[in-house]
């Protein structure tokens, strides 16, 4: 499952605690055997105790392995030590073979729980070799008769306690594996939820972008219909009338011609305003700084522009910054009050771009900011370029709009 992928910090701590319990159990066993060897004066007992202790030492590298999140390595050290004990015990006491089967199976259970399929296959192959060795030793070894040094009932009690303890140890191991599985699942669920939230945000933003585009077309249609189109219709009708009057020999009144002239001039003005609203030609022809200065000149409120010459923008960034500043300054004109002044600042920050539009006007209720369609529009424009935009305002505290666009060379990697 997580053999090579590594585990969460909590799961690693769980596994480490499990290994520590097994170490303590091994040393208690070694000490117990040594005690009995001394009590009953049996040298083979001392050999057995030393063997158990050695195998506990063999398993020690499992701790640094777990600390390195090397679960595969830890499993192999554990298996080597556990199987080593079984081989030593069966060599000295062939009658203990049935009990040692649990030593054979223990590491395989751990492996099945913690290792991926490839690693598990290698562990099982090793397990088969150990099984054959245990079987051969169990059935063929003469043994040392060390178990005969203690009363038969004591030997039986030791074996039964050994079995019972191993059931507890293996259950604890399965418990650890289960917690690891749940933790992994929780992490996956949390990641999935975060992804779904991001996806929902993206869908909502995309819907707003399309809706903003549609609303813009509606606005343009109304502007064209109410502006230039009406004036041109009026002009066409008046020209037709004038031509008819002239043909009939009726003198044309100068004020009628003046009216037509003024209709045509106003139609031209309307079209110029419309064209600038669709896309400002100054932005394509003379660049962002001039376009912003042009917006500032048309603003009814004084606007100061600070433009760091190190700022470089691609066309998408220039358009986003232009339209965000335009919307912000239109908001200043509409809402900040007649005495408000505004400052627009563009600078380079962390190889990205920082833009701020700050006014000292009447400000607004901060809770209303998030509901403003204009603000959402600005946020969408900024996030479409991988940037972030925040709006701060409070009554009588003015409004501050800050936007940061990431370094373009890394923006795609981050996003």
């Amino acid at each position: 499952m997580t053999g090579s992928a590594g585990l969460e910090r909590e799961s690693l701590a769980d596994l480490r605690a499990q290994f520590r319990t097994e170490q303590i159990a091994s040393w208690i066993a070694a000490a117990g055997v040594l005690f009995l060897a001394l009590v009953y004066g049996e040298p083979w007992g001392a050999v057995l105790a030393v063997g158990i202790g050695l195998m506990a030492i063999v398993r020690l590298p499992a701790f640094p392995a777990v600390d390195r999140n090397d679960v595969v390595g830890a499993m192999w050290w554990e298996a080597t030590g556990t199987w080593g004990i079984a081989l030593i015990v069966v060599t000295l006491i062939p009658a203990a073979l049935p009990m040692m089967v649990i030593n054979l199976i223990g590491p395989l259970v751990s492996g099945a729980l913690f290792l991926d399929a490839r690693q598990l296959r290698r562990l099982v192959s090793a397990g088969v070799v150990v099984a054959v060795a245990l079987g051969v030793l169990g059935f063929r070894s003469e043994g040392t008769g060390v178990e005969d040094a203690v009363p038969e009932w004591l030997f039986q009690v030791i074996m039964i306690v050994y079995l019972a303890l191993h059931v507890v140890v293996m259950s604890a191991l399965v418990g650890v594996a289960n917690r690891v599985r749940l933790a992994t699942l929780d992490a996956a669920v949390a990641a999935n939820e975060a992804l779904m939230r991001a996806d929902a945000d993206l869908r909502e933003s995309r819907r707003r972008v399309i809706s903003a585009g549609d609303q813009e077309r509606v606005r343009l249609e109304r502007n064209i219909h109410d502006g230039a189109q009406q004036r041109l219709v009026a002009l066409a009708v008046q020209l037709q009338l004038t031509s008819q009057l002239a043909r009939n020999g009726t003198p044309v009144k100068p004020e009628q011609l003046d009216a037509m002239h003024s209709e045509s001039r106003e139609a031209i003005d309307d079209l110029r305003e419309l064209a600038r609203g669709i896309y400002p030609s100054v932005l394509t022809e003379r660049g962002l700084e001039d376009a912003l200065r042009s917006v500032a000149r048309r603003s009814p409120n004084p606007v100061e522009i600070t433009y760091d010459r190190a700022v470089e923008t691609c066309p998408e960034e220039a358009a986003a910054i232009y339209f965000i500043c335009l919307a912000a300054l239109q908001n200043v004109a509409k809402h900040a009050g007649p005495d408000a002044t505004a400052q627009v600042t563009l600078s380079v920050r962390d190889r990205g771009l920082a833009v701020s539009i700050i006014d000292d006007g009447v400000g607004c209720d901060p809770t209303a900011i998030g509901r403003s369609r204009g603000v959402l529009n600005m946020i969408d424009r900024a996030s479409a370029l991988g940037g972030e935009l925040t709006v701060d305002s409070a009554p009588d505290r003015g409004t501050r709009i800050s936007m940061v666009l990431p370094d373009r060379s890394t923006a795609n990697v981050d996003a």
């Binding site: 109410d226 219709v233 066409a236 009708v237 209709e263 106003e266």
Partner: protein, 140 residues
């Protein structure tokens, strides 16, 4: 409809001028309509309104209006709705809808209730004015 109007031969009674009321929210068109009406013999501008409700208020109290040039797109009520209400109120004036919108973009039943005809704004001429009037009065 405009083709048909073009073939109508105008024979309006010129002794009593026909009172024309113009409803449009664009001042440019109101001025222009005034020029055309002024230049059409037998027709006189009797008043203007810049919204549907203002038009309804005026038309309710004025019995001298013979012809209404009614813009479809008004800021409050649509011209179609104004015509329908006038018809329901028993108005006898001839109502001509006008618009810069294509005829095809108007509702299919735009000319059903209380409307005598449709004239694209840019086609308003002295001849067209007389033609819609004659057409609505069954003169051919």
């Amino acid at each position: 409809m405009t083709d048909r109007m073009a073939t109508v031969h105008a024979t309006a009674d010129v002794t009593v001028p026909i009172s024309v009321f113009v409803v449009d929210d664009h001042p440019a068109f109101l001025r222009t309509a005034a020029f055309v009406i002024d230049a059409t013999p037998g027709f006189a501008l009797a008043g203007t309104a810049v919204s549907g409700t203002e038009a309804l208020d005026s038309l309710t109290v004025r019995s001298d209006i013979n012809l209404v040039l009614l813009d479809v797109h008004l800021p409050d009520l649509s011209g179609i709705e104004v015509a329908r209400r006038r018809a329901e109120a028993g108005g006898t004036e001839v109502v001509i809808l006008m618009s810069t919108t294509d005829r095809a973009d108007l509702p299919g039943d735009a000319l059903d209730r209380g409307v005598a005809g449709f004239l694209p704004k840019e086609l308003l001429t002295t001849q067209a004015l007389r033609a819609v009037w004659d057409d609505a009065n069954g003169v051919s």
